[in-house]
């Protein structure tokens, strides 16, 4: 178990990490999600012991390891760049951390072959990394991290430099591979989709602060604040500024949407309403849905889905629709959403407290 207790780090008056408290269980997969410069790498370096916190304690299985250098912690790290020993074969690369520990030959061989099987590297064991594709190189680096039998495995955007399709394949394999080892995995990424595919626990970061921690799907569905909701939305979250007046949220231009039951207790006044792009659909005429009338700025079609960029009431919205919807720029469009799909935030960005008696839509 890795515990971070009010950990902060500032360098030359600049705060990189502030007041981070986390508990990461053994065998868990933890995703650090946040944009570039949110502090993902800084936090990982602190966890690894590559940097020392300026305040706070770090404990591993109860023992204080604050200030213990990385060399004396059992940590493995995989970077965005594919880092392997260029002169060694894949086999020797994977075996290298065990050689350093002085483990017997037979045991090393067994471990290398196990890792190679797991990562589908058996055909390439005799090649050197430079003769491999990017995906194979990164798999070699991951295999090396796995055989080390580290207590803590840190992966810093490991798939960022790979082709889209390779990423997709590795993403599918990684949770299975992680589940087979007992280590604590920490995986940094900028992509919400990647976090969702990996599952586990998600820790959202923004400007050096942890904004939310929880099971990935929970953080996605019930963001604690607007910042988290925005970080965890791709395409970007649509945000409407509305005012609650009794049973409705209303805009100054006359748009109205019924306040869902679970938010009935909220006080009147301004609120920020988040609507995920995929929650918007073409207007079906059903009475229980809420209609938005806007003007299309741009439509992008991927074959199975369409992204419509729509101007509504001086707000730019993005709708992610299933199927092909080609709409000329400038044409009017009618979209709808379910009031229950709304995420409600206060003007300062805190999530509104939903009434506990109503179960949340899963």
């Amino acid at each position: 178990m890795l515990e971070l207790d009010d950990v902060s780090r500032s360098v030359g008056g600049e705060t990189h990490i502030s007041d981070v408290s986390l508990t990461l269980a053994r065998g868990s997969l933890n995703v650090l999600l946040g944009p570039t410069l949110a502090g993902k790498t800084s936090l990982m370096r602190l966890m690894a012991g590559l940097d020392q916190p300026t305040a706070g304690r770090i404990r591993m299985d109860g023992a204080d390891v604050t200030g213990v250098p990385v060399r004396r912690r059992n940590v493995a790290m995989v970077y965005q760049q594919f880092i392997n020993y260029p002169a060694m074969t894949v086999y020797e690369n994977i075996a290298s951390p065990m050689h350093l520990k002085g483990i017997g030959k037979a045991e090393i061989d067994a471990a290398v072959r196990r890792a190679a099987t797991l990562l589908k590297l058996e055909p390439y064991l005799d090649r050197t990394p430079l003769n491999l594709s990017g995906g194979q190189q990164q798999r070699t680096a991951i295999a090396r991290a796995l055989v080390k039998n580290a207590d803590l495995v840190l992966l810093d955007e490991p798939l960022a430099n790979l082709d889209y399709k390779l990423r997709e394949e590795l993403r599918e394999e990684l949770p299975r591979i992680f589940a087979q080892t007992g280590a604590i995995f920490v995986y940094a990424t900028t992509e919400p989709h990647e976090a969702l595919l990996l599952g586990g626990t998600t820790i959202t970061l923004s400007q050096g602060r942890v904004t939310q921690v929880g099971p990935t799907a929970d953080v996605y569905r019930r963001p604690a604040d607007l910042l988290t909701a925005r970080t965890f939305s791709d395409p970007p979250l649509n945000v409407l500024s509305l005012e609650k007046r009794g049973g409705v949220f209303a805009s100054t231009s006359g748009f109205r949407v019924a306040v869902p039951q679970r938010f009935a207790a909220l006080q009147d006044g301004p609120w920020q309403i988040g609507i995920r792009p995929h929650a918007l659909r073409p207007w079906s005429g059903r009475p229980e849905a809420t209609r938005l009338k806007g003007r299309v700025v741009l439509s992008e079609v991927t074959g199975s889905q369409s992204f419509l960029h729509v101007d509504w009431d001086e707000t730019r919205l993005v709708a992610l629709l299933r199927g092909v919807h080609r709409v000329e720029a400038g044409d009017p469009i009618e979209l709808e959403f379910e009031p229950d799909d709304m995420l409600v935030f206060s003007p300062d960005g805190r999530a509104a407290q939903a009434c506990a008696s109503t179960p949340l839509a899963a």
Binding site: P35, E168, R276, G303
Partner: protein
């Protein structure tokens, strides 16, 4: 502005490689129409960047000709071809200000100072960089730098084409959305021919009117996003486009039905599978695979269900073959279920190439 014609282009990086028959580009014969937005899509090493550099003139092809309208430009320098290119990593002149960066290509071409000033201020406005006009380019963020690279191409309103080499690689997901729609906007306003190289299908499909899918030095399909999605001409296109890619199931064809293991999938009459020699495969997009109650469809065993927010990805097996289904958010996935395929979405492949449907 010009129509770009690639006339039987082949390229090997050295004469020795050409002799050995190792071509980075095996044969490309294609035209980019004037004013179109094209994407070259493919995995790394498929030759897409090589092709882009041949268009821009940074590379001279081993064989074939490049024509802009009717003019043969095969041996002309990039400068003489009058094209603009945006690279993967933003290229800015560090010591110049943002405005100076944008003015640079115009100054090199000795435009009158007044003209330069008006074009630069116009471009600053279009890129939303007015407030940073007099900042040094050095301290800017990656997306701002990439905008400058783009702007240096766009200020030259008379360019024949703008070429993009994976321009959004170093940009954060949220910024990607903004930059991409800005790019489309600029294309709509300027109607310049744009060619965009990427390995990211979302970028390619959303940017381009026509996507050129490349694989191992060859063009495997050129089409609109819908065509590539609905009727991939090659199983590679099916796999590469779509996320997750198309299910490709080895099969036999008997009595107007495809047999996957012991599962019988009736083929639409338009697909003539009878008497086909070679390796047959059945292609079906995960979006068109639904789950139905046990006993009413194809028997599958569900292995894993991934919740990816707006949809659920179900990974299952059908007689040992991997089968993926994508369902809308919130759809219940019973432990025991059968799969059903939408007949309109079925594609049959013989030796990896699509068996074309008979016209109705």
């Amino acid at each position: 502005m010009a129509r770009i014609r690639l006339d039987h282009i082949r390229h090997a990086y050295t004469p020795e490689l050409a002799k050995a028959g190792t071509y980075a580009l095996r044969e490309v014969d294609h035209a980019f129409e004037d004013g179109g937005a094209y994407a070259l899509l493919g995995p790394s090493g498929c030759g897409k960047t090589t092709l882009l550099n041949i268009i821009s003139g940074l590379l001279t092809p081993s064989e074939g000709h490049v024509r802009f309208d009717e003019k043969d430009v095969t041996r002309l320098t990039p400068e003489a071809r009058n094209i603009a290119q945006v690279f993967q990593f933003p290229v800015v002149y560090d010591t110049m200000t943002v405005a100076e960066n944008l003015a640079f290509p115009l100054r090199n071409r000795r435009l009158p100072a007044g003209e330069i000033r008006s074009r630069v201020s116009n471009m600053l406005a279009r890129l939303g960089l007015e407030v940073k006009a007099n900042r040094k380019a050095r301290g800017l963020t990656a997306d701002e730098k990439q905008k400058i690279s783009l702007g240096r191409g766009l200020v030259r309103s008379e360019v024949n084409a703008i070429l993009f080499d994976e321009p959004l690689t170093v940009i954060d997901p949220h910024m990607k959305w903004q930059l991409r729609s800005q790019l489309k906007d600029l294309h709509r306003q300027s109607r310049m021919t744009m060619v965009y190289v990427t390995h990211d299908q979302t970028e390619a499909l959303t940017f381009a009117d026509k996507v050129v899918v490349m694989y191992e030095g060859e063009v495997v399909q050129i089409g609109t996003p819908e065509e590539l999605f609905d009727r991939p001409r090659h199983t590679f296109v099916g796999y590469f486009i779509g996320s997750p890619g198309m299910n490709v199931l080895p099969c036999r064809v008997e009595n107007g039905a495809a047999l996957v293991g012991q599962a019988r999938v009736p083929l639409p009459a338009a697909i003539d599978g009878a008497g086909r020699a070679g390796r047959l495969e059945l292609g079906i997009r995960p979006e068109f695979v639904t789950l139905v109650p046990r006993g009413t469809g194809l028997p599958v065993s569900v292995e894993r269900v991934e919740d990816v927010g707006h949809e659920r990805v179900v990974r299952a097996r059908l007689f040992g073959e991997k089968l993926v289904s994508v369902l809308p958010e919130g759809t219940p996935v019973p432990a025991e279920a059968d799969a059903a395929f939408d007949p309109a979405a079925l594609n049959l492949y013989a030796d990896s190439w699509l068996v074309e449907r008979r016209p109705a």
